[in-house]
């Protein structure tokens, strides 16, 4: 079912029969991958962020059937065989969460965000729009992560964890 399947965390999965099903609900309700969270179901909170071919999207605004042939990675697929993704570890050490509900979205978003910066995509706070590589300063990180809400107020820990993981690598 290579051409009619969605790849999710490396496994081929048949898309839902009902075309109204969002990618988020497909993950959570059909596949029982509850790591991806629903905070608003309208693209406003970022809790549902997943990676599609390495790019971050809000899965609540995506219809699952549109993702046939694409490669989806969720929070459950981020850790490798040998342990957690280093960003997951950094979140623990920097206390980048309280309730943990926004956390999978924050982490997936940060992975996609770092890739955007590596590709030289500028943000609202980027001074040099022609730079080939973006230095992930705190301001860049804060701007680029602003689509991921956290009501507990773990923002400082989240940015510290992302900075430790990606800022130096990108400079």
């Amino acid at each position: 079912m290579k051409n009619v399947a969605i790849r999710i965390n490396g496994s081929a999965v048949a898309p839902p029969a009902d075309p109204r099903v969002s990618l988020l609900d497909f993950l959570r309700e059909t596949l029982h991958l509850h790591g991806t969270k629903k905070g608003c179901n309208q693209g406003a909170c970022g809790a549902c962020t997943v990676l599609v071919d390495g790019e971050r999207i809000v899965s609540c605004l995506a219809l699952a059937v549109q993702y046939v042939g694409r490669d989806i990675v969720t929070i459950e697929g981020l850790a490798g065989q040998d342990g957690p993704h280093r960003l997951q570890q950094a979140f623990i050490e920097h206390d980048g969460f309280q309730c943990g509900y926004c956390t999978p979205g924050q982490i997936c978003s940060a992975v996609g965000m770092a890739a955007e910066a590596r590709r030289g995509l500028p943000s609202h706070v980027t001074d040099d729009l022609s730079a080939r590589r973006i230095a992930l300063t705190r301001d860049e990180l804060r701007e680029r992560m602003s689509g991921n809400l956290c009501r507990c107020g773990a923002h400082n820990g989240i940015i510290a964890a992302i900075a430790e993981t990606y800022a130096r690598a990108a400079e």
Partner: protein, 798 residues
Amino acid sequence: MSNVEGSGRPTQHEGAAQQDTSLTRRGVLGIFGAAGAGALVSTFTGPPGVGPVSLVSEAAPEVLVQRGSGWVGAALSRIDGPLKVRGMARFAAEFALDDMVYAALVFSTIAKGRIATLDTGAAEAAPGFVLVMTHRNAPRMQPMVPFGPNEKAAGNDNLPIMQDDRVRWNGQPIAVVLAETQEQADHAASLIRVTYEAEPATTSFAQAKANGTEGAVYFHHEIGDAEAELAAAAVSVDATYRTPYQNHNAIEPHAVTVAWHGDELVVHDASQSVVHNAWSLAHILGIEERQVHVTSPYVGGAFGGKFMGSHQVLAAAAARLAGRPVRLTLSREGVYRMVGGRALTEQRMAIGARRDGRFDAIIHTGTATHTRDSPHPEAFPFVSLSAYATGSLKTDLQWAFLDQVANAAMRAPGEAVGSFALESAVDEVAVALGMDPIELRIRNEPKTDPLNGAEFSSRNVVKAWRDGAERFGWAKRNPIPGAVRKGEWLVGMGCGTASHIYNRENGGAARLTLTSDGTVTVDIATHDAGMGTETAQTQIIAENLALHPDQVEFRLADSAMPGLVAGRGSSQTTTVAATVVEAKKMLVAELLTLIRADSPLAGLTAQQVGPRNAGLAKLDDPTRHETYTAILTRAKRDKVTVEASPDEPTEMNERSMHSYGAMFCEVRVNAVTGETRVSRMLGSMDCGRVINPKTAASQFRGGMIMAMGLALTEHTHYDERTGRIMNPSLAEYHIPVHLDVPEIDVIWTGIPDPHAPMGARGIGELSVTGTAAAIANAIYNATGKRIRELPITLDKLM
């Protein structure tokens, strides 16, 4: 989640792509292997000389000299972290039960009246439809019992739940549709047609005031003649401060997954009150409390918004009618419609002072919106009762009643908005006197509680001010408003006092089981919605029993456990800590009964021994020591279990107990656009002993960030003609985002409170207070504009 997997529960679906989630909260550490263990303790710098405690009885004498194990005060990483960063902590909407159906709600679109027609025909013909529940077929149920004298009540109103055709607020649920999938339920619900006979409703604050207000007796206080003192004062401020409706907006929407097994109801809840909710559901549904089992191991934020609500009732009733398990998740809009938030306030705040700054009068009165059925008073004058020495004092709270969803307690209810008025007015007095606002506060520092003369248990707010001022660089502040400009940006500094009353609840109770392998399990029906309860209490238990945290399992949020400890009033840490201390005493007494003649502890009494190094030792001769394992093994016991409840919390009857903070803020205000950016913040806290500096600092920051939203952006807009919330969404209700939040500095005095369990007072709500005023005062310092109405949006500064 072994603590919630009771027997007889429906099995869970195991999807193709599902990870193994049959892990205990601690069990997942195994996945991390060595890295996981490192995560738990890697940042632990710990008490000097104490490594992981040896389990063998022949421990070196110098280690035995250690008091406790030193885990209280350690910067332990969150115990539930490995689960949460992998998305494996399972929340209420994430239990998939066999044969489960999904619920969707229909909300009323008028504020008051009756349902004239309700046509469900098209919905019933929709694909996947299972059941519709309305007032016509809902089972007969009691209303909720609101918070109040009944210690198990945790309701937010006492209104009938789908029992009649009456509409009482705009957004009231009037139908529940069940279907095989969420999409089908949502679609079917959209096909329901309703007409109403509307009646005149009170939906504006002005109308509600014109109808006449009622005083909340408990908050009326008068000492001396404050009005006369104010009139005679050399310097005075007398102004009106306004704060808007606001909502909690926990990122996890309210959700519940319920199943009936015969007459027994299992509820996977998102709750900060599991035992209360079990009692409430039993009461409402007319069954016995023991027939309801509520668990809530993970909660995605609560902030006062996740007590007992009507959504749990609707889910349970619909599940009963359908004979199938039900998942009911509120949409974000549904959360706004069904769960109230902070009330709107209009506060008169007046201070009269002498030329030397001493206060002769404090008057804090005014009106808050309210519903007839809400138990939450939004008691803003409360903050002025114990704040400053004053010659005279007058406080009063009036309620203006509206027809709208019952207002709820939102993090630091009353105090968050009351401290905005009080601490802004203090700043205004400082400006009028030409005095530094910190010095003015210190000059009015009371020696005893201004209201009743009670002694303070521990009040070091002056030290917090001095330490904070130095760290923040307050001396560099230019007191002249509007004088510091960097390009387009006006820069200013401001400050405000935080304070929050100490609470310990009556219902603390725990079951502690020590097993012969030297590990301990403690069960308390308390909650962790992100506060770090599990981690902090694990440390408290480790400290009290002289164990390593790896030897402690703290289990919580299950109504079958002992204790009646709601996550409210910043009281969980104190309540649970007192319970743990009591359990320790009982355990020691119990263990002494097992001591044999050949034990090094033979002949000693409970007064002579205490926990040391994974066992008991003689207090003044720690070489007389025996490990828990050795004691139990010698007595041929697998385990010892004690159930404990602490003494009634009388400490706060005898003295005035509060946590405090000196809150500092630097803002930049754009001179062209009026945009405010918070560039620096510092919280200098005085909260007794800090159990875990890592989680405490995060909690303080979280409160300050919530107060940043209170000050600058957050506003639930009601259409005053219809009583309908116009911005029920995270796109149109603006909470602070990453770019809004600077790095926030937090320090504390670290002075233990001798009258609080473990020396710790609550901290959960403290930093929400004082901070909004610090921001408003900084804006005044930056611009010369005194904004007395929140949120301070761009238009108010242009």
